[in-house]
Amino acid sequence: MKRVFVALFVFCAAAAQAQTVDEILAKYFENTGGQAKWEAVQGLKTTAKLNMQGMDLPLNIIQLKDGRQMTFAAFQGMQFYQEVFDGSTLWGTNQMTMKAEKSDAETTENFKANLAGDFISPFLNYKKKGYTVELLGKETMEGSEVFKIKLTKKPIKVDGKETENVEFYYFDAADYVPILSESELKSGPGKGTVLQNKMSDYQDVNGLMFPFSMTVSAKGQTGGQTINITAIEINPKVEASVFAFPTSGN
């Protein structure tokens, strides 16, 4: 499930008959609300649900432009936090003790390395963030003709070794929105597996277009986990305390 959270809000949109990657990205921002409007977003509060064997697991996700974020779920009366970042500490709830625990140093450093870049869209002002993009051509994904764009973010460390941090985005050439992204798991038991995040059900929120359905799965495997978004609040009021690492556990 953690992977779902990671993949949740990395999205972008829309390409056109454009030839260069910058034209495609410019068109995307224009089509989905306009670059200025995207830039004005300071934070998002998202309500979503995961369908688990017929039962809805409700999720609340807060993300701020400065990198602070939080994912919260309540289940069977217990409260879970995942991938919470308060500006310096990345933490989550241990499901045995139900207490807060810090992420390992490398995970935290990797999170911080791309901190400023991923909010709202990694493509928004990507050059300023030190990211690079490249149009690799057209191919077929999800049965649709798509532009394949390579996004290179800042390098991360994998078990102590610096590693390139690359994601691929596929923009539907007919509907002008990205419908799929791919990234390789760099560590853990699934190391080497390519994760796919399929984006659909784009809907309007105050003039900005967001994908309301995201399905994360291992490439080549059937199934996957879908997150269905039920509401998005733009620029929500958030207390700083919600991100804070609890001093006496959680």
């Binding site: 688990m52 009366g77 217990m78 049965g143 419908i179 399929k198 984006m199 784009y202 399905t215 059937t222």
Partner: protein
């Protein structure tokens, strides 16, 4: 906002127009249909080349004979496939030493030129560590690339050694060089059309020095020749501008394949293994002056064995006197090549060995049976267990549930294994049913017996797996018989009509009516019986190689018509198609009726059709004559006339065809570069690429009960496409609709609920077939904008559950594992397993309702209980009844706890107002607290720190036990239920008593303190809420 809407409308119009214009095919059409891989990996398969990252000792690449390129990022513990979309036959992998994290080159086409070797399609390069690969123009006809060397000081300067075509003359051979990273190439050393570059090395200390070995070689289907006057070892001092032979000290006369290596720790030290005219001259040579002079050191068996198959030398990068030679077992010298000892036990046939970049105790070996690791310098070898690159020659299936897959493997015996297994298909699921090289394995049609064979039908076994008894049953020459010529890969066949009938093919068709006990030849020699092609004793060239692999003029495929036992087809490797309509009394060679088929093109497969007695398909391969064209034909008149059913959409030669048993126009073609499917009888073909590598598909079979297409691949094991029946229903009319539901067979609720398998973390585990109910539909366009949802309803429209929709263009498959939902359990301090256990749906007819924007699409489907279940219906109903009762108890208790918590919360609010208020409500708070302690665990954690289970935990536990099975609840469970019901009733009564006693006072004090009274949601509202 208006602007946005306008854009969306505009987009919708544009995309509608695009959708109408587009021809839906291939990836677009197959959508969600995915292949699954079941391995096996326990014996892995042939590895052709190992390559290391020059500075990161965790990164290792393995090139394989038929399974593409694999990469390890964890020091060889596990590997992942990184080359699935391209030709899977790999000659060499080269990491650019100047940019090793990103730039890797792959030369396709294995160079260990055994009879069954595949063919490459060129040179590839990645600049992103293997995520994407670009084909480099200019090497399309290279067929086999032996070596790639990148100048360590200049990544744009690359040398490529092309061995080239095996079966024919070719100009595409020799040494090629680029100085612009692969954009342009020049051929800098070419010898002749029969002699290719078999190895190539740059001196790492001086990249202007280049060595290249050249090999004169040729294979035909019936002969192999290694060696000639043009084989040589060359050296260039000027980056390939000029070359000179460095043979001083080599024997005179013809040479064969030359293995060659230079020590990186002292590049003046070179080793070469020569194949020469005289046996006394064959062996290891060493030069200590950069090749100016050579002297012979050793002619041990392991050094000179089968040069065409073993021709690699590896030198310890830290010690020029430690040398490993690939061979039958592989051998290592620690005295500069004077003496050798064999490497530790591992799968035989070692093609390559590499030493770790930092530690000479660590080394990796490429064998016919996978990648092996050593931690002690090669004495102890252990196999990497997750590389399923097994090379099947043939597969078959039975009708068990789950069905088994049978097949034989290159150098790895014969096996069968289940198509699905608890926990996935694991190494331990596979059963060995033959040794040597395995080929065809057939289950007896009705008895639990298995026919298997080894190379050249040296042994054919009838094996009883239950008794673990094998009997040899092959046809043998009788008085008056000529020598029986069996192909290396001998045909066998059973009959759909006579279960005990069994066929084998030599140059004759042999038939047994008693499972191989007695044989009758039912044909004359059906081949061309060409004496030139039957002199295998002379095969090999400078090294005699009469393994039997070149046996020719043999029957290669036999097929009895499923409609008439007297109609038998036989195809031969020298290009005949013979048919008898009278059980073998008379035969007609009908190959001459095939227009456009070159003479003597091997008939690889005949498929006798179920749609007519005279109907059959024949597939031919000419690659062993250098002809890469695709040949597949259909006849409907016993071979009197044939129609080609291939199109230019197919990019490689084919070996096998499988017809659907229901839709005559649905055909599956196994080619050297993957699977192709036609829906229109061969007028057009689409490549199937969903989790399906571009692997050589040697054989396909269709499991009749499940409609699964099962493929025996020569490099990626068994690959299955589950239930191809939607393809039968793909009509133009269906594809014209926005959404079209496919008919599905009734879904059977599986009753297995075991404990999974035994695989360890680093072992390959094949994925199982899904046993969920499937809602299958075709979408004309990918759903991207607006909402799309799926609900399962009963026939009265009551919602059962929600599912996540598939939104791909083409075929979508939604899985429903028969769940309704788990119960809502009381809010507590611990997880209860029962809260994760969904209530299961009952057998019946259901409706899938898809809401896509404003449009609604519905389709009914049937769910059934397992007809083979041993559980009586009444028991299953009792299970359902009790599970539902416990489900309700969980939710009722959740509601009671909710009400209790809300009441306690209100009381706490009141308590905080004043001491008199506190005095009034404290007894209520105390009573509620005492009751709650009996209802659920209120302290501790989710592991061993949890408190003693209470009512919540006990009810959920019992619910989980009952709902998790299909059996009638046991007597103990029923008594436990009775006890829990009583405790629950008592708790309810106690709660009522507390409320009766205290609630009016709470209301009164709340009102006095201007606090809202307790508002309790209704039960239904509570269940729906996220509270």
């Amino acid at each position: 906002m208006k602007k946005l809407v306008n854009i969306l409308v505009g987009l919708a119009i544009t995309s509608a127009a695009t959708a109408q214009d587009a021809i839906t095919k291939g990836k677009e059409l197959f959508g969600d249909m995915k292949a699954r891989h079941i391995g096996p990996a326990l014996m892995s398969g042939r590895i052709t080349d190992m390559e290391l990252h020059p500075s990161n000792d965790r990164v290792i690449y393995a090139g394989t004979a038929g399974g593409g390129v694999w990469k390890s990022s964890n020091g060889g513990a596990t590997f992942n496939a990184i080359f699935d979309e391209h030709c899977q036959s790999i000659g060499c992998v080269e990491v650019d030493p100047g940019n090793p994290d990103n730039v890797v080159w792959v030369g396709t086409g294995e160079t260990w030129t055994r009879n069954s070797v595949s063919v490459g399609d060129g040179l590839y390069k990645t600049i992103d560590g293997g995520t994407t690969w670009n084909k480099i123009p200019g090497f399309e006809k290279s067929e086999r690339i032996a070596a790639i060397q990148v100048n360590p000081k200049n990544s744009n300067e690359v040398y490529v050694g092309v061995l080239g075509a095996l079966f024919n003359d070719s100009d595409d051979r020799g040494v090629y060089k680029t100085t612009d990273g692969g954009k342009t190439w020049s051929k800098i050393l070419f010898v002749d059309k029969t002699t290719g570059c078999s190895d190539l090395i740059i001196d790492p200390s001086n990249p202007s020095i280049v060595y290249a070995s050249f090999w004169e070689f040729r294979r035909s289907a019936w002969n192999f020749n290694s060696g000639g006057n043009n084989s040589a070892l060359y050296k260039s001092l000027d980056g390939g501008k000029t070359w000179a032979k460095i043979h001083k000290g080599f024997p005179s006369g013809k040479l064969g394949r030359i293995a060659f290596a230079a020590a990186t720790s002292n590049t003046q030290i070179l080793y070469a293994v020569l194949e020469s005219e005289q046996d006394k001259d064959k062996g290891l040579y060493r030069s200590d002056d950069g090749g100016a002079n050579w002297s012979k050191l050793n002619g041990d068996f392991e050094l000179v064995v089968r040069p065409f198959y073993f021709s690699r030398i590896e030198i310890d990068p830290r010690n020029p006197d430690v040398v490993v030679k690939a061979g039958l077992s592989g051998s290592i010298s620690r005295d500069g090549g004077k003496t050798f000892k064999t490497l530790g036990p591992m799968h035989s046939d070692i093609h390559d060995v590499v030493f770790d970049i930092k530690n000479s105790d660590r080394l990796y070996a490429a064998t016919d049976g996978g990648v092996y690791r050593s931690w002690d310098g090669g004495t102890t070898m252990e196999i990497v267990e997750n590389i399923p690159v097994s090379q099947f020659y043939h597969i078959s299936v039975d009708n068990e549930d789950p069905y088994n897959v049978y097949g034989g493997l290159q150098d790895n015996g014969s096996w069968f294994g289940p198509s699905s297994s608890p926990g996935g298909v694991e190494a331990s699921d596979w059963v060995r049913v033959g040794v040597g090289d395995g080929y065809r394995v057939l289950p007896h049609p009705t008895k639990k017996l298995i026919y298997s064979e080894m190379q050249g039908a040296e042994n054919v076994w009838r094996f009883d797996p239950a008794k673990d008894q094998a009997k040899t049953i092959q046809p043998l020459a009788e008085k008056g018989d000529p020598k029986l010529r069996f192909n290396w890969n001998s045909p066998m066949a059973t009959s759909a009509i006579k279960p005990d009938r069994f066929y084998m093919g030599s140059q004759f068709v042999h038939r047994s009516e008693d499972m191989g006990e007695t044989w009758v030849k039912i044909s004359p020699d059906l081949t061309t019986n060409d004496p030139i092609k039957t002199e295998q004793g002379k095969s090999g060239g400078l090294s005699r190689d009469n393994s039997g692999a070149e046996n020719h003029c043999t029957v290669f495929t036999i097929a009895e018509s499923p409609l008439d036992e007297n109609i038998v087809w036989a195809g031969t490797d020298d290009g005949n198609v013979q048919v008898t309509k009278d059980g073998g009394k008379t035969w007609a060679n009908v190959v001459g009726n095939i227009a456009g088929l070159p003479k003597n093109t091997a008939c690889w497969h005949i498929e006798a059709s179920v749609f007519g007695k005279g109907h059959a398909y024949a597939v031919f391969t000419g690659y062993q004559k250098g002809d890469m064209a695709t040949y597949a034909y259909k006849t409907t008149d016993f071979g009197a006339t044939w129609k080609s059913i291939v199109t230019p959409e197919i990019t490689s030669f084919a070996r096998n065809i499988q017809e659907d048993y229901v839709n005559e126009n649905l055909l599956f073609l196994g080619t050297e570069l993957g699977l192709y499917i036609t829906l229109d009888g061969g007028k057009s073909w689409m490549k199937f690429t969903n989790n399906m590598p571009a692997v050589s598909v040697h054989f396909c079979d269709l499991q009749k009960r499940t409609n699964d297409l099962v493929m025996g691949t020569h490099g990626r094991g068994v690959i299955i496409i589950d239930d191809i029946s939607p393809l039968r229903q793909l009509t133009e009319e269906a594809m014209a609709k926005d959404l079209h539901f496919f008919k599905t067979a009734p879904a059977i609720i599986p009753e297995s609920n075991g404990f999974g398998g035994t695989a360890t973390e680093t072992q390959f585990v094949g994925s199982n077939a899904s046993r969920s109910a499937k809602i299958v539909y075709y979408l004309k366009k990918r759903h991207t904008l607006g909402k799309m949802s799926v609900e399962i309803q009963d026939l009265n429209g009551n919602k059962i559950t929600e599912l996540d929709a598939g939104k791909s263009k083409g075929i979508n498959i939604i899985q429903w594992p028969y769940n309704i939902k788990p119960p809502k359990v009381a809010a507590g301090k611990t997880f209860v397993f029962g809260g994760f256990t969904p209530l299961r749906v009952q057998a019946g007819t259901y409706r899938a309702v898809i809401q896509k924007g404003k449009d609604t699409f519905t389709n009914e489907f049937v769910v059934q209980n397992d007809p083979n279940s041993s559980i009586p219906l009444a028991d299953r109903e009792q299970n359902q009844k009790i599970a539902k009762k416990l489900f309700d108890m969980n939710q009722e208790l959740a509601y009671l706890v909710y009400e209790l918590d809300e009441t306690a919360k209100a009381a706490e609010n009141v308590k905080a107002k004043s001491s008199s208020a506190a005095k009034t409500v404290t007894p209520l708070i105390n009573d509620l607290s005492k009751l709650k302690d009996k209802l659920l665990i209120t302290k501790g954690d989710n592991y061993v720190g949890a408190g003693e289970p209470q009512l919540r935990e006990d009810i959920a536990e019992l619910y989980g036990k009952v709902a998790g099975t299909f059996y009638k609840p046991s007597d103990a469970e029923m008594r436990n239920l009775e006890a829990l019901s009583e405790r629950f009733a008592a708790a309810k009564a106690e709660f009522k008593k507390i409320k009766d006693k205290h609630l009016s006072k709470l209301t009164e004090v709340s009102s006095k303190n201007k606090l809202e009274p307790v508002v309790i949601k209704s039960f239904d509202e509570f269940i729906k809420s996220s509270q």
